[in-house]
Symmetry: C2
Subunit: 349 residues, 2 copies
DNA sequence: TTGAAAGCGGTACCAT
DNA sequence: ATGGTACCGCTTTCAA
């Protein structure tokens, strides 16, 4: 039905082997035949059969990227950066040098995560990049580790981006704990003492680490007696931030600051505060995490920790392709940077 | 190296053919042997070789989703909805019924778009979903149409979501023109007469259609003499919205409203207005398009046209899988809904 | 209901 | 430098 290698070979009056060599460009071929082959390819509009070559070569040009929520720009930015690394640098042997980044949306579901890993294993993916916080349930963690080892064993590179290291994988770990700690320290330095915290889902590594950093800062300043009561858990979305804030205000109307586990939550926090007639930052200062592009527009007074998502994604992509040297020990820490805007305020009164 | 069908067959004491039948579930197999096979599969932790089966069956379980900018939630929402349709409804023949959605980020580049279409053709994708506005350059349009036909000819379903129809593809066209028209009509009804417009890149269908709708509304109200001068083009991002707004104010400081070609631009517009000391909506009303989740938080006073992105994506996914009947004529129009918030204001003075 | 065997379209080793 | 040719692992007639 479709044009095959053999058709091209016949037209170019060479063997299939030669055509294959021209196309993959990993073997010397006389310039004249090479030209003849390429012309035949063009004339016949030949397109390589991916599955066939993946089968024969025992490896495909797919790279899987797992994300928790593709509608969240946090993951969009990372995924986009990974994918951007997949295109061959200009000037290469133009033909088919690219990998195909497969972005898989797990929705944060452990089952779907494993499911996608299986799917990618089935596709004999060249690499898999797992992004974002991991679910901490022990069974699931073990299952993921097992799958990762199996993938690694079958030649698939495994890269983690934004979650704690596991064996057989290269890791770019985000400094969630340190970032959160410094964020809260910033508020403490401004004089805030009653600080609410809106956390993410309980069983996520990002949730736990950021909360730990926050608590550590409070403890160091000796103002952590109310920490438990001033923490509310929810999802990493706007609605949760909104609801959690109402709950926080119910528990303590005298809060002077609220820290959100990420910027999306922070937006909900701000909306709730506004609806309660509280001004930001005059009445309540708000801090977030990630510094997504719209954060500053949404709330000019928002203070956030900025993670270099684009760079992290790009690096993860290069690691997945084996284009960048492994970090020492297989683990690199990605630092977070404080974006304290001028309008962040000390507590009122 | 890896476990193969033959290994499973041997262990289950059946032929490879039988194992294949059990796994694909499209052929009667005795319950007893079926159980035996499945047990062998589990024991050996067998994972189907995707490329091999794609080669033999001449079709793969990949579905490509092309997006212009994966970091933009507009596309994230659509892509996520498409992907969500790929998982088999619970209760199905659990094993391997799922398709793998491949989200491809073109970055709005025509070359990359074609490139990805080739890549997907090479993978023998089961379907391809093209989302978002199309580039209008005639050569490129022709090239895309050709590729689409070729894909369709080789059994790949082609679905368009948010762009104008082409042959051999099923289309969900967004009502950009009508939506934009109604949006501007809303502002006119409030009494606005000097309305600025921040458009997207000139060669995009979405850009042109939305601008046409805006102009049509102005013309119908007889206030389009300044339309040309009050229109500034840019990219579909925040920075462009910011810069364009400064330019608009330079051209006419007495504007009472600004319409942005999408919500992301609208955020930049708002930021610029704020920085110029103008209040929203007291001094200048702002309207956007798409109503992304964060819009209302960012600017409570923002008026937008909401496109049902999630539903559109879900539907596109079902069309890609052949699970939903073709719309009559192969083209369905997706309506936009006006989200006029209470705080939208009539012009000052 | 099950098995045998011929491909599917490349790849890569071995010759020439 | 080029050709011949065994596979790669699964699907799918065709027979039994």
């Amino acid at each position: 039905m479709a044009v095959t290698l053999a058709d091209v070979a016949a037209r170019a009056r060479v063997s299939a082997a030669t055509v294959s060599r021209v196309l993959s460009g990993n073997y010397p071929v006389a310039e004249s035949t090479r030209a003849r082959v390429l012309r035949a390819v063009d004339e016949l509009e030949y397109v390589v059969n991916g599955p066939a070559s993946a089968l024969a070569a025992a490896t495909s040009d797919l790279v899987g990227v797992l994300v928790n929520d593709i509608a969240d720009p946090f993951f969009g930015i990372i995924a986009g950066a990974v994918q951007a690394e997949m295109v061959t640098p200009a000037g290469e042997s133009g033909r088919g040098g690219e990998k195909l980044a497969v972005i898989c949306n797990t929705g944060g579901s452990p089952e779907r995560e494993l499911n996608y890993l299986t799917l990618l294993q089935r596709q004999r993916a060249a690499a898999v990049v797992l992004t974002g916080g991991a679910v901490e349930h022990p069974d699931h963690a073990a299952a993921v580790a097992t799958k990762a080892s199996r993938l690694a064993a079958s030649g698939t590179r495994v890269v983690l981006c934004g979650r704690p290291p596991i064996e057989d994988a290269t890791t770019l770990a985000f400094d969630n704990r340190g970032g959160a700690r410094r964020l809260t320290e910033h508020l403490l330095t401004l004089g805030h003492r009653r600080i609410g915290y809106v956390a993410g889902p309980a069983e996520r590594t990002t949730t736990r680490h950021r909360l730990e950093g926050h608590r550590a800062a409070l403890a160091a300043a000796g103002v952590d007696q109310d920490a438990e009561r001033l923490t509310v858990h929810g999802l990493y979305d706007r609605a949760s931030g909104y609801d959690a804030t109402l709950e926080l205000l119910r528990r303590d109307r005298t809060l002077t600051a609220v820290v959100a586990a990420n910027d999306t939550i922070a937006l909900g926090v701000c909306a709730a505060l506004r609806d309660q007639g509280l001004r930001i930052p005059e009445d309540v200062s708000v801090a977030g995490f990630d510094d997504l592009p719209f954060s500053a527009d949404a709330v000019p007074a928002l203070t956030t920790m900025r993670l270099p998502l684009h760079e992290a994604g790009a690096r993860a992509g290069r690691l997945a392709l084996g284009r960048e040297p492994q970090p020492p020990g297989g683990v690199a820490m990605v630092r977070a940077e404080l974006m304290a805007r001028a309008s962040t305020a000390p507590p009122r009164g």
